[in-house]
């Protein structure tokens, strides 16, 4: 919640934790790559490669998928050791609906919280009331209705979910096309059709109105879940997202430093096929990957 530093109006109306500040940090990350890291060494490799932020985790999604069990917020000591290693923003994940994990992450000074379907949900009906926090949140979505419900709860950044830990970009493409397609459809409607559209997709009317007027989501929208190559990253950018999360794709590959740098360059030069050809050369082995059929999607379905 916005925090008036000095309620009597002096101190030049200084405020912390406002929507402008929460959404603004995501705006500064646009055109960039956010990388999953599990150790301070990974974090340094990611920063050296040009990552705009890192996601501090105990296990990358590919290992979460492989090992099963309940996936929870990471140990604060691990997250802090990563925060102490890099100068770029550090994000961390909490379980869907687990507002105490979020309180803990805020207490250690994390820069962004991902209320993430990659972890095992703590609540099967409700997400966190994110307006309650000074730290900004990013949330996953598969369609415009889900994106606007999360923004309605206070998310300051959105990412399409994809299917994390697979190295298969198909779900990320499906979700980005769905969200961006829903927005294109909305922008063809007359204002007197917005309310029924809001009802159909289960989104707050005010955010439907704002999205229609802007012609885009009111917050930054990254792609996630299955990006493994520079070409995958550029594909997502050309489809119209603002930047890319890469989870298992980097540190489950043969040469993480080189692949990380290549994906960073592919996101900047996403429309330049000569450069994309150059950065795609000799990257070593990509992560093995697991192809997902629509009926095998596990993580992407979490979220309400």
């Amino acid at each position: 919640m916005a925090d008036n530093l000095n309620p009597n109006g002096s101190n030049n109306g200084a405020q912390k934790g406002t929507e402008t500040l929460k959404r603004g940090l995501a705006q500064m990350l646009k055109g960039g790559v956010i990388m999953d890291v599990v150790t301070p060494e990974h974090a340094r490799i990611a920063e050296d490669a040009g990552a705009v932020a890192v996601m501090a985790l105990e296990r990358v999604p590919a290992d979460i998928r492989a090992q099963g069990g309940v996936a929870r917020m990471s140990d604060p000591s691990l997250i802090e050791s990563i925060m102490n290693t890099v100068t770029i923003p550090v994000m961390a994940k909490c379980r869907i609906g687990h507002f105490v994990e979020a309180q803990i992450l805020e207490a250690i000074g994390i820069d962004y919280i991902d209320e993430s379907e990659v972890l095992t949900p703590a609540d099967d009906q409700y997400h966190i009331d994110k307006h309650d926090f000074k730290v900004p949140f990013v949330c996953g979505c598969r369609n415009l209705g889900e994106a606007l419900r999360r923004i309605g709860e206070g998310a300051a950044m959105i990412r399409t979910k994809g299917e994390a830990g697979t190295g298969d970009v198909v779900e990320a493409v499906r979700h980005a096309r769905t969200v961006l397609g829903d927005i294109r459809r909305l922008s063809t409607l007359r204002p007197d059709e917005w309310m029924t559209f809001a009802k159909e997709i289960g989104a707050p009317y005010e955010l439907i109105k704002e999205t229609a007027e802007l012609g885009r989501l009111p917050v930054v929208n990254f792609a996630a879940g299955g990006v493994a190559t520079p070409a995958d990253a550029a594909l997502m950018m050309q489809l119209g997202v603002d930047g890319v999360f890469v989870g298992s794709g980097i540190f489950k590959s043969g040469d993480p430093a080189k692949r990380a740098k290549a994906i960073v360059e592919a996101v900047t030069h996403y429309n330049d096929s000569q450069i994309l050809a150059e950065v795609s050369r000799e990257l070593g082995e990509a992560m093995v990957g697991i192809h997902v059929e629509p009926d095998q999607v596990v993580l992407g379905k979490r979220g309400w």
């Binding site: 109306g13 603004g24 705006q27 646009k30 040009g50």
Partner: protein, 188 residues
């Protein structure tokens, strides 16, 4: 007027929108050849480490330096860091302005803030300034004009010759007076 916006990473689209609303032609710059025919350049907010590495990888640093020597350049947040000669750590910089800058000077994201600034060059109305993991100017040499300070005294906007640097983000708020000020620098 053709105003370039360095588009390696960060909030370049926000600058482009404001420039276009003021009648300027905004051009995205990712490669050295795209600096040709520009009258001025804006370096946006973003992550300065990322912007610096991409500038090195695509041989932009030297062309940006040569551009800045002869043409107006404005850096916001990460852009201010890129323009400074001294940031107290090893990181690729354009390095034309005689200022010392501290990265992340206010702390982490939970310490980011917005506040009203008095900027005499823009008139008497306060300017609502948005500081996101912002840098701070910790030292200026002779010839650097201080345009704005925080109430506590920290320097957050400076001008030297045809270079402008702000620690905050005028591209995130509707007030376009800093963009107008820069376009006047370019025109005049």
């Amino acid at each position: 007027m053709n105003i370039g916006v360095l588009a390696l990473q960060g909030a370049f689209i926000e600058h482009e929108k404001t420039l276009r609303s003021l009648g300027a032609n905004a051009v995205e710059v990712r490669l050295p050849a795209q600096l040709d025919d520009l009258d001025a350049l804006i370096i946006p907010g973003g992550e300065s480490t990322t912007i610096g590495k991409l500038a090195v990888a695509y041989r932009l640093l030297e062309p940006l330096y040569r551009f800045a020597i002869s043409k107006p350049v404005w850096g916001t947040c990460a852009g201010m860091i890129m323009l400074a000669k001294d940031i107290g750590r090893d990181q690729p910089l354009i390095g034309v302005m005689d200022i010392q800058v501290n990265r992340n000077a206010f702390g982490r994201q939970v310490d980011s803030f917005e506040t009203d600034l008095t900027v005499p060059e823009l008139g008497s109305d306060p300017f609502r300034a948005v500081f996101i993991r912002a840098p701070l100017v910790t030292g200026v040499s002779a010839g650097v004009q201080v345009l704005a300070r925080l109430p506590e005294g920290g320097i957050v906007a400076v001008r030297q010759r045809h270079w402008l640097a702000t620690a905050f983000h005028p591209e995130l708020t509707p007030d376009d007076r800093f963009h107008r000020y820069f376009l006047e620098m370019v025109g005049g």
